[in-house]
């Protein structure tokens, strides 16, 4: 009785841990399968890449301009006016847009737009037993379905990060203009604070974000069960788990980057 109650209470935790373990295994299998010949996933890779590109570019544009204009733009500008230091907004944009908002907004948009589409697609195929049929016909779903999505999402997320940063900075420019400031000092403080570490750090981070989105969303799709409802449930869980994973990883990554590259802590 007691044991039953305890088991029931810990069951969700155990399931979660098991799932995390399964996702780790899937990651390992995906990477080895991507590297080991043959490489039959080229076509699927291109189509997934274009699919994500087509779906995400507009939502990402709106999101980054709006959030960068509002949060570090208007709010921080409002704060900096107290010190008459609106020229410092450029420096803030290095911290905010390049290091955090760009990567995170990119990840959120990609998970919400492309990731859910992947889960829904794979989930529906799982429910229709297409994945089983593929396996019986000698097609490895990891190599042919997960690997191309994994690579495509890593590339797309990495590229979109640059795009997000550019539009994010545009939001900052807007904020400066609205505050009637010249743009010269904004760019000066921006480039004084930006280092190559910031750029590659941001790019690496988003590429890994892409990998996380792909693994979680593929995993959730491929393990969907229970009919059409099950696909809905899988999509919902995919989003929740992806966000948790991305933000937790962001924290660990930021802490590590700051510890190993203390020079980027210095505000110039």
């Amino acid at each position: 009785m007691v044991r039953n109650a305890a088991e029931r209470a810990f069951l969700p935790t155990r399931n979660l841990l098991e799932e995390i373990g399964d996702m780790m295994i899937l990651t390992g299998r995906t990477i080895t399968s991507a590297l080991r010949p043959p490489y039959p996933y080229g076509g699927e890779f291109v189509s997934q890449f274009l699919f994500a590109l087509r779906l995400c570019w507009f939502p990402l544009l709106i999101s980054t301009v709006a959030i960068c204009y509002a949060a570090p733009g208007l709010q921080a500008a409002n704060f900096l006016t107290i010190f008459g230091a609106l020229d410092r907004l450029g420096g803030i944009f290095v911290l905010a847009a390049i290091r955090e908002i760009g990567p995170n907004v990119t990840a959120i948009v990609l998970a919400g737009v492309a990731g859910t589409a992947i889960t829904a697609d794979l989930g529906a195929r799982k429910i229709r037993e297409e994945l089983d049929a593929l396996q019986v016909l000698g097609v490895d779903p990891v190599k042919n379905l997960v690997v191309p999505r994994f690579l495509a999402l890593m590339l797309v997320t990495g590229l979109f990060n640059v795009y997000a940063i550019l539009f994010g900075l545009f939001g900052g420019v807007l904020a400066e203009l609205v505050n009637g400031q010249p743009l010269g000092p904004f760019w000066d403080t921006l480039f004084a604070n930006a280092s190559t570490t910031d750029l590659w750090g941001s790019a690496l981070k988003t590429t890994i974000f892409g990998a996380i989105i792909a693994i979680v969303c593929c995993y959730k799709g491929m393990t969907a069960s229970g009919g059409a409802e099950g696909v809905g449930r899988a999509v919902n869980q995919a989003v929740v788990v992806t966000f948790l994973a991305i933000f937790s990883f962001d924290y660990v990554y930021t802490q590590m980057l700051l510890a190993t590259h203390p020079n980027i802590l210095v505000i110039k």
């Binding site: 529906a124 049929a133 019986v136 000698g138």
Partner: protein, 308 residues
Amino acid sequence: MTVATREHDPSGAGGEQSLGGDGRDLSANPPHGGPPPAGGGGESEFEFHTGANRPTGVPDAIEFIGVHKSFGSNHVLRGLNMGLPEGQISMIIGPSGTGKSVCIKHIVGLLYPDEGDVIVQGQSIPSLPDAELFEMRKKFGVLFQDGALFGSMNLYDNVAFPLRQHTEKSEEEIAEVVNRRMREVGLGDAGEKMPNELSGGMRKRAGFARSLVLDPEIVLFDEPDSGLDPVRTALLCELIKEVHEENGGTYVVITHDIMSARRVAEHISVLWRGRIVESGPAAELFDSENPFVRQFLSGESQGPLGME
């Protein structure tokens, strides 16, 4: 791992004897008349499971030995012992939700037993390494419950898929095989259609054509007759028989339709609550004295099987 090979002794010495899967449930089960209470717990659950395996005189191509499989708390296969004879059309019949589809997935290595073993042509499927399992799967043709066609391809490409995947055939040779198989199942001119434009019956027939293109030694059908009208079911059964006569091989057909069983089955295994109730040559099973088998094979409402 429980190994209860005695029931599958190919010499058939074990004929009619009543051996439970592990011999435990029968001794603990005092004989009493009347049907058990619906969903009755304990050992009376297996009251009718004599597990008798009437001799077929043919070695088994596929064997389940003491297989247990659970999904969470749902214990689906509970010590399943089953043999399916080589070169015949065997049917696994049983009420829905008893784990018939789960059985098929064990045979092709999509699911692994928690306990026990599944042997196909002398090889233990759960212990095959991946590479050998891939080779093994080329021997199988599988028709999944809803056809499991690839939604992104038209019918022609679906049927051609195994050939493109596993053979070096030229497109002309592929076209020849595919068109022949498609005509055989009555889809001669539907090659351009996409799966979602088709009725369930057409999807099944297309799935059937796809499962046959590699001339498999073992063909597994998951409810080929569900969702079809009686005439189409009869036609499909005829088709299965014809194709079997022509190509030979071990066919395993899952169904809960007794008419289909009467038409095509040479061997029948009755599955209920994760175990075999009785199995043997079709004619003998239709004459069985077992109350559950009789109820199920005659489709009566009176008997051990309730609504649960």
